[in-house]
């Protein structure tokens, strides 16, 4: 599942210092749970994103450990405190070892 994975992040472009902003993230991924069977009855092996992290200038905002019960195209909405201008870095870790990244910069002023 390394192809066709596209992260999308909605974050404000600017904030005032210390403001709490809402972040919305979505990444296209099958999130094969390992519970389903194919037409001939063989189980389809699990293939999910198992971890999602968000950091602001290297400081952790949220770190989510994900299980197969997370829906296809995992969506997360959470809040971050923005103390100064900088970059938000979003990282998704796939079962197959792939890492998907997205960065958004936020200006303070």
């Amino acid at each position: 599942m390394a192809d066709g994975v596209k992260p999308r992040v909605k974050a404000p472009k600017s904030a005032s210092a210390g403001e709490v902003v809402v972040l919305k993230t979505l990444i296209s991924h099958n999130m094969e749970s390992g519970q389903r069977k194919d037409k001939s009855g063989n189980p389809i092996p699990r293939s999910i994103i198992n971890r999602f992290t968000c950091e602001f200038n290297g400081t952790s905002v949220i770190d989510v450990q994900m299980e197969p019960a997370i829906s296809t195209n995992p969506y997360f909405e959470f809040e971050a405190k923005i103390p100064e201008g900088g970059n938000l870095k979003f990282t998704w870790y796939d079962d197959d070892g792939s890492v998907y990244e997205e960065t958004k910069s936020i200006k303070v002023g």
Partner: protein, 138 residues
């Protein structure tokens, strides 16, 4: 009231699932909670779990959870083949201990959120979600 063959079968399957499932799956969920809390007492209240009362499609059920002062929140679906859903670790710059996501539910069941507070205590909230079509594809 007349039942078609299909409805009768569905009712029968539902009745069997109701009698068998709670006993079997709650044990797994309780184990997961115990592993998370290390056996500490879990208080009720202090955690807000927002889940729909009825979910038509078990593949994407919107869930949001918040707990003021929590550092870690674990989300469990007591009736899924594996009860774990997600564990949120809130970092230094988390604006609030709250998060929303979409989860899969295999059938009608309780969703449980267990929060670990900054002082080391635990709190939980439960919400029953009725699922019309299960989301595990089995």
């Amino acid at each position: 009231m007349d039942f078609t063959r299909r409805e009768t079968l569905a009712l029968g399957a539902g009745a069997v699932a109701l009698t068998v499932l709670p006993f079997r799956v709650n044990a797994a969920a309780e184990d997961a909670i115990a592993a998370f809390t290390g056996g500490a007492a879990v208080a009720d209240g202090g955690v807000n779990l927002t889940a729909p009362e009825i979910a038509e499609n078990g593949n994407t059920v919107p869930i949001s959870v918040s707990a003021e002062g929590a550092t870690v929140i674990m989300l469990l679906a007591a009736g899924n083949p594996t009860p774990g859903v997600a564990t949120y670790n809130f970092g230094e710059l988390a604006g609030s201990a709250s998060a929303s996501t979409r989860i899969r539910l295999a059938g009608t069941q309780d969703v449980v959120a267990v929060a670990k507070m900054a002082d080391g205590s635990f709190a939980q909230a439960r919400s029953t979600v009725k699922v019309t079509i299960g989301g595990c594809g089995g």
